[in-house]
């Protein structure tokens, strides 16, 4: 081996720097003790508002404790305060009218406006999580949750096993979940497709009720609560393709069994000639729903920013098919700040039994619902998140503002009379503002 010129004797500085480092490292306790465990605290607050409809305030708190053996425990609390009006399912008509919701509340509406009924609710949800790595390549995740609101309670959990393969270039996740929900509507469980008569009572905090409203509970056949069971399964594969690009494919299946009807939603009874509403009946949905989706996800790092794109295809045995495209681009700015614009496009077909109303005199279908969320719905979301950090204060802050526009095909071919002149699914404008704070210590 040809000996090249003897390398320059390492300058004295190299030895001094090493020795100085040793001196400062060995005597400073902080530098030596590696952080044994870290705790991450997350808090966020959501303000959600629909134009003259529901308003939601949702604070969330979450604490995650990561131990040095890779195990982590997390606890999260979500609180929702919901007020405002929700569409009852009744159809707009040419003239001012009053509608009575299934919970017996009567409200007046201007002509052509979607009838809604006022409601308010308070929901709390607690979630506990546990992540346990088993050896180098396998990890398990267990999550249990309990949530409660005035007329709904849910308890459930999910378990997932993830496996890292090929030097962690590929990972496979298999998981399952089960929820057991109780529904106890304010005036009892209404009998499906049964006429709703103006009621006198109505739940105490249901907002102002007009005179002469008859409680709808009389038509409920006396059952006060119903059960809903939801087993679910998910399988996913994620793959690192290049230094900048990773992709994943997830498939999930959720089977809902039990009382799936919305207790407060009604279906209008339409006069066959004039098309005006002459009454309303409670809605009725099937007792099972087999829901599946396929989600393809891609994350690509451009060096100055990261591009997130995902496509979800959803289908279920109620006839709803939907496409969802979600695009985000996180642009890293100066020191630890970023801006992330967001676009989401959504389109779904209506459920087979969705209808804008039932024509008086015709035989009632077995299932019927006018809940626009089961209708031919389109929606576009435009928004952006700004992430930053307040100097001298630990932790990162994110502020997100988004606008969601929902609309639908409100001109069905079988519309009758005046309905032909109305848009039965007028656009809905939603604005959300969210503030997030994350701190690890």
């Amino acid at each position: 081996m040809q000996l090249d010129s003897a390398p320059r004797p390492a300058p004295v500085r190299a030895r001094l720097r090493a020795a100085a480092c040793l001196l400062l490292a060995s005597s400073i306790p902080g530098a030596r003790a590696a952080a044994a465990a870290t705790t991450q605290f997350d808090a966020s607050g959501l303000l959600y508002g629909e134009l003259d409809r529901a308003k939601v305030v949702e604070p969330t708190l979450r604490v995650m404790r990561l131990l040095d053996n890779g195990q982590s425990f997390s606890a999260g609390l979500v609180l929702d305060a919901i007020t405002g009006a929700s569409p009852s399912g009744a159809m707009p008509t040419g003239r001012a009218m009053t509608t009575t919701s299934a919970s017996g509340t009567v409200t007046n509406h201007a002509p052509g406006e979607i009838p809604t009924s006022p409601f308010s609710d308070f929901r709390g949800a607690l979630e506990l999580g546990w992540h346990q790595p088993l050896g180098g390549i396998v990890a398990t995740d267990l999550v249990t949750h309990y949530s409660r609101e005035k007329d709904y309670q849910s308890i459930g959990g999910t378990a997932a096993l993830s496996l890292d393969l090929m030097q962690r270039l590929t990972s496979v996740t298999v998981g399952g979940g089960y929820d057991y929900d109780n529904v106890f509507p304010v005036n009892g469980v209404p009998v499906g497709l049964s006429p709703v008569v103006a009621g006198t009572g109505g739940p105490p905090d249901e907002g102002p009720t007009n005179a002469s409203a008859v409680t709808a509970a009389a038509a409920t056949g006396g059952t006060s609560a119903a059960v809903k069971q939801v087993p679910s399964a998910v399988v996913g594969v994620s793959r690192i393709l290049t230094r900048r690009w990773m992709v994943s494919l997830n498939a999930s299946r959720i089977v809902q069994r039990g009382y799936l009807t919305e207790p407060y939603k009604i279906v209008s009874v339409i006069d066959p000639d004039s098309g005006t509403t002459v009454g309303s009946i409670t809605e009725q949905r099937p007792t099972t729903r087999d829901r599946r989706d396929l989600l393809a996800n891609s994350v690509y790092h451009f060096g100055t920013g990261v591009f997130y794109s995902s496509y979800r295809y959803y289908w279920d045995d109620w006839g709803v098919r939907s496409h969802t495209i979600d695009l985000k681009y996180r642009r890293d700015l100066a020191e630890e700040t970023f801006f992330q614009p967001h676009v989401r496009l959504y389109a779904q077909t209506a459920a087979d039994f969705f209808r804008f109303g039932v024509v008086q005199g015709e035989p009632l279908p077995t299932y019927a619902s006018s809940d626009y969320r089961l209708g031919p719905l389109r929606s576009v979301t435009l928004g952006g998140t700004y992430g930053f950090h307040v100097p001298d204060y630990p932790g990162e802050l994110t502020v997100r503002a988004e606008y969601i526009l929902q609309w639908g095909d409100g001109h069905p071919s079988d519309a009758v009379g005046v309905q032909r002149t109305l848009d039965l699914m007028p656009p809905l404008h939603i604005a959300t503002v969210m503030v997030g704070y994350t701190r690890t210590f």
Binding site: C21, A25, A31, A34, D68, T170, T288
Partner: protein, 167 residues
């Protein structure tokens, strides 16, 4: 309702898992490949010009989380055996010098540091995880390979280094 859904799922899983589930074969004891890399002061570090009874090579990078835990341990190991024949060379695999220097200002490195941005040496050493350290005897044969940083394995490495130093 049977889960007809499950059958295709399991077959998909099989496609993914089977061919890759075989563990990589353990490397037989081989001679460590020679290298000559730039150090922090404009000089170079060459494996064959290290006068040492035992050499510990540690491949690290500033973005690698376990490396933050391994550096304090490497410092204390060097403090105890540096004067008894142990030389530690921490080979940095960052793509550029700046992140490595800012890491070193937070996690002091009293031992030698070398830079291999292209990862050529890591390739020759068949590095499979970040970090990975190799303990070499005075003939530069690899006595032990330690992928990742597992605090439970540090005692085994320390005894190996102590025995090599006392030889």
């Amino acid at each position: 309702m049977r889960f007809r859904f499950a059958i295709p799922l399991l077959s998909m899983l099989a496609v993914v898992v089977l061919p890759f589930a075989l563990p990589a074969t353990a490397a037989t004891s081989t001679q460590a490949p020679a290298f000559r890399l730039p150090d922090r002061d404009g000089g170079t570090v060459a494996l064959d010009s290290l006068a040492a009874k035992v050499v510990l090579i540690d491949f690290w990078a500033s973005w690698c989380e376990p490396c933050r835990k391994s550096f304090p341990w490497l410092s204390s190991l060097y403090q105890r055996y540096g004067s008894k024949g142990l030389v530690i060379v921490a080979i940095n695999l960052d793509k550029s010098r700046e992140p490595a220097e800012s890491f070193l200002s937070k996690y002091p490195a009293p031992f030698r540091v070398a830079f291999d941005p292209a990862g050529k040496t890591a390739e020759q050493f068949h590095v499979r995880a970040m970090p990975t350290s190799f303990v070499l005897d005075d003939h530069r044969t690899i006595l032990l390979t330690h992928p990742g940083f597992d605090p439970k394995k540090t005692d085994a490495i320390e005894t190996l280094v102590r025995e090599a130093c006392e030889k």
